[in-house]
């Protein structure tokens, strides 16, 4: 491979390249449309042509290497999709627990590999369905869970020992994990056999998605509680999925998504090490969750850079010894923010390109959005088409035949390097400002994202950036004839009845006692997981549990960030 050449020969070649490049540039400039800006989705300039000059700093073994080997630029498994295809995991959940259970049985029968639960907003925020703040929200963006009774219904007839379940829940994540454990226990499946992922990433809530309950310090403490509990009791469970998805959806650029997500991850790692956990004990169970946006090459470069940056830091900064601690494994979801209400069928096409970038970037699992998501919750038909998009990708396009096929591309490698450098620059800035938590408090990360979102929108408003169907190729008098799934208001009533039922069958003294024990555990700074499990077992409601913790931890108010 590496030929030994003398210095003169090398500089001669470089000169030849420079000369050839200049000649080409003159020819190309003559016919280039100079009125158009050539930028990525993240508004980054792109050169018209990439050559070996853009990749000359790369040392193949050091920077790219082999799949399954440090620094994992090409993927975390030696055989990648030849060994095991990515997990097709469609996120769903709506209305009542019974409706959600029905959708799960359907999706599993259609070849989906794992379940992914979407909860409604009151559940995500720790409010019961009968709370005044839940008015109009129950069952709207996902399934409502108030007590263990609801979780029992959601997983009725599904063997929790056989499937893996991902739960998109953050502020009250430990409560839902506790409920899942108790449902499994009632099925006779012990916690150590449970497989799945808890999103459980509160930092990105403060940064982007804004579904928080407590202030950052106690919230991160609760997460470390679950990491500690999982490490000891649930060896197959991923206790956290450190998420850039929502950061991107809030308007971040690809580099911001990458940098802020990794910085969040390193914060959890540092806090867990402070708790006294051995990095090699918990790091192999950490996973990440990224967005797949429309700029095909930029996205692929992002995933490749993510693996390389993470491996380097885990190995050299956090001193992890186990190779499994160095590997960044991730789930991907196609970009909801790239979808549009106008000509919604186009969303199928967008999602397909995005899905392909995720697969070429080496994702471990994938959710493809439904075309009707900017209009409502997915209908059955749209949900099935979204799953089929992945099946076509896996079975018909040939992308799985060879591993990391874009490695060595001058453009993709140069972009991967650029991503890494820009990401490191953000890390330095975050450090200078006192770390992620301080940056959140000061609104720095939020402002960076808001600025990027505004830049993007102005490009669209000025038509520098064309979005098909929105500011170009518009259909006049467009009639949308996609069937729209509506959740009616009766769900709230059914949930209220379900709470009533739970309250009628439970032992109130035990509820009071377990809640008091939980409060005390919070005050004593103990690991809260066992106490929360005791609470849910008594059919204590989500709201009661979160309120008890609020009594000790208080509530968070956002900084203005304007």
């Amino acid at each position: 491979m590496a030929e030994i050449r003398n210095q003169a020969e090398i500089s001669e070649q470089a000169e030849a390249l420079k000369k050839a490049y200049a000649e080409w540039k003159t020819a190309a400039d003559a016919t280039t449309n100079k009125n158009k800006k050539y930028v990525t989705v993240s508004s980054e300039q792109v050169d018209p042509l990439y050559t070996p000059a853009d990749t000359k700093s790369i040392d193949f073994l050091r920077d790219i290497g082999f799949p399954g080997e440090y620094p994992y630029t090409r993927g975390v498994h030696p055989s990648m999709y030849r060994g095991k295809p990515w997990t097709m995991r469609q996120f769903s959940g709506m209305g009542t627990p019974e409706q959600t259970n029905e959708r799960y049985h359907f999706l599993l029968s259609q070849g989906q590999h794992g379940l992914s639960v979407a909860f409604d907003l009151p559940t995500l925020m720790g409010y019961d369905s009968d709370h005044e703040r839940s008015l109009g929200e129950v069952g709207k963006c996902g399934v409502a869970v108030d007590t263990l009774l609801d979780m029992e219904k959601i997983f009725k007839g599904i063997d929790l020992g056989k499937i893996s379940t991902s739960m998109t829940i953050n502020a009250p994540a430990s409560v839902l994990l506790a409920m899942y454990i108790v449902v499994a226990e009632k099925q006779g499946v012990p916690a150590e056999k449970l497989r799945g992922t808890l999103q459980n990433d509160i930092l990105k809530e403060y940064i982007a998605q804004k579904e928080w309950i407590y202030p950052p310090e106690p919230s991160v403490k609760l997460i470390v509680d679950t990491i500690e509990f999982g490490t000891k009791k649930m060896p197959l469970w991923n206790t956290i999925s450190i998420s850039g998805y929502h950061i991107r959806e809030a308007g971040a650029t690809a580099v911001q998504e990458l940098a802020f997500t990794l910085a969040d991850g390193f914060t959890y790692i540092e806090k867990s090490i402070e708790r006294g956990l051995d990095v090699d004990e918990f790091a192999p169970r950490l996973s990440f969750f990224f967005n797949a946006h429309m700029d095909f090459f930029e996205e692929i470069a992002k995933y490749r850079a993510a693996r390389r940056i993470y491996a380097k830091r885990m190995r050299y900064k956090y001193d992890a010894k186990s190779e499994r601690s160095w590997m960044l494994r991730f789930h991907t979801q196609t970009a909801g923010c790239s979808l549009n209400a106008q000509q919604p069928e186009l969303n199928l096409i967008r999602t397909a390109y995005e899905a392909m970038s995720a697969v070429l970037g080496g994702t471990q699992s994938l959710h493809t959005n439904s075309m009707d998501e900017t209009l409502a919750l997915p209908s059955d038909k749209a949900a099935l088409l979204a799953l089929r998009t992945q099946q076509v990708l896996a079975e018909e396009t040939g992308v799985i035949n060879t591993i990391d096929p874009l490695a060595g591309s001058y453009y993709v490698e140069a972009m991967t390097n650029r991503m890494e450098a820009e990401c490191e620059a953000y890390f330095a800035e975050i450090d200078r400002r006192g770390g992620v938590m301080r940056c959140i408090e000061e609104g720095f990360l939020q402002r960076e994202i808001a600025k990027a979102a505004y830049t993007y929108q102005r490009e669209i408003d000025s038509k520098e950036r064309i979005i098909v169907g929105v500011n170009g190729y518009v259909l006049e008098n467009e009639q949308i004839d996609i069937p729209i799934l509506k959740i009616d208001e009766s769900v709230a009533e059914l949930q209220r009845q379900s709470i009533k039922k739970a309250k009628s069958i439970r032992d109130q003294d035990k509820v009071t006692r377990t809640l008091n024990d939980l409060r005390q555990a919070c005050r004593d700074n103990k690991n809260t997981m066992p106490f929360i499990i005791d609470c849910v077992r008594q059919y204590t409601t989500m709201g009661e549990i979160c309120d008890a913790m609020k009594d000790v931890y208080g509530e968070y108010i956002e900084p203005p960030n304007l």
Binding site: P215, E442, G554, I557, E558, P559, P560, N561, L562
Partner: protein
Amino acid sequence: MSVFDDFVRRDKRALARIITHIENRRENYRQLLAAVSRLPHQGYRIGITGPPGSGKSTLVDALVLRYIQQGLRVGVIAIDPSSPFTGGALLGDRIRMQHLVNRDSVFIRSMASRGESGGLAAATRDVTKVLDAFGMDLIIIETVGIGQIELDIVEACDSVVVVLVPESGDMIQTMKAGLMEIADIFCVNKIDRPGADRLLSILNSMVHERQTASSVEIRAVGTNGMNGEGVDSLAEAIEKHRGVITTGGELERRRGSQLKAEIVHAVRDRVVRQLEETIDFDGQFEHVSRQLASGELDLYSAADMIYDRYFRK
């Protein structure tokens, strides 16, 4: 004058509309202001200023919550800068005042600086008077930054709190004189951060030096607006300052000189406006400008010529 009648009956909607009218200097605003000024008023004015990000709004939230729990009625004016390029403004102080939402005894008004230094100070003073006449026991004026405009604004307050954060250490060294001139109370917010103790001790020694020169004691307190730590001490410091200046006659002296300053400001504003509008009354302004441009005249001689013509007209 039905809106005015509603105002007298303490209707908040009427208060809000009158403020808009006066802030925008709409037709008849002076008669309106005069009518408002004739109503009984005895509010006490507290100015809160400090650099961006020092947590002023959170402190105001905590302070005002305390005051209304004591049965007091409180008006808040929250001032943020306008964009010098577009004239627009994003006013976000309310986000941090969530404990004051839906309270009968609180009225919060956000104001943009609108880029006119003299004008903002005057408008703020007028709005303060309106809130006072509405029957507010306390009027709190929150403004960002410690520049000349902010000085003009807080000058019109009875007690002035300067909020700093532990990171402000370097800044206060360079601004020492200006800060000492306006602050009645220093508040080091975000006291949980490193450097807080150091800043407090610097402030305390600064305050100590000045004590000999003035009869009124300045204090420095530490707070954490997020969890309410130290807010009691801040309220106490304000109360103490109020007590001292009220009984010692300082409050009357201050208000007397404030009123004089107001008259001077108002006259100056009128003179400046009139000067700008009519400076070329006899066509000489253009002529003198050309002479300046060609080098026949220097700036100060040009100014002398215009001044003499204008004021002897």
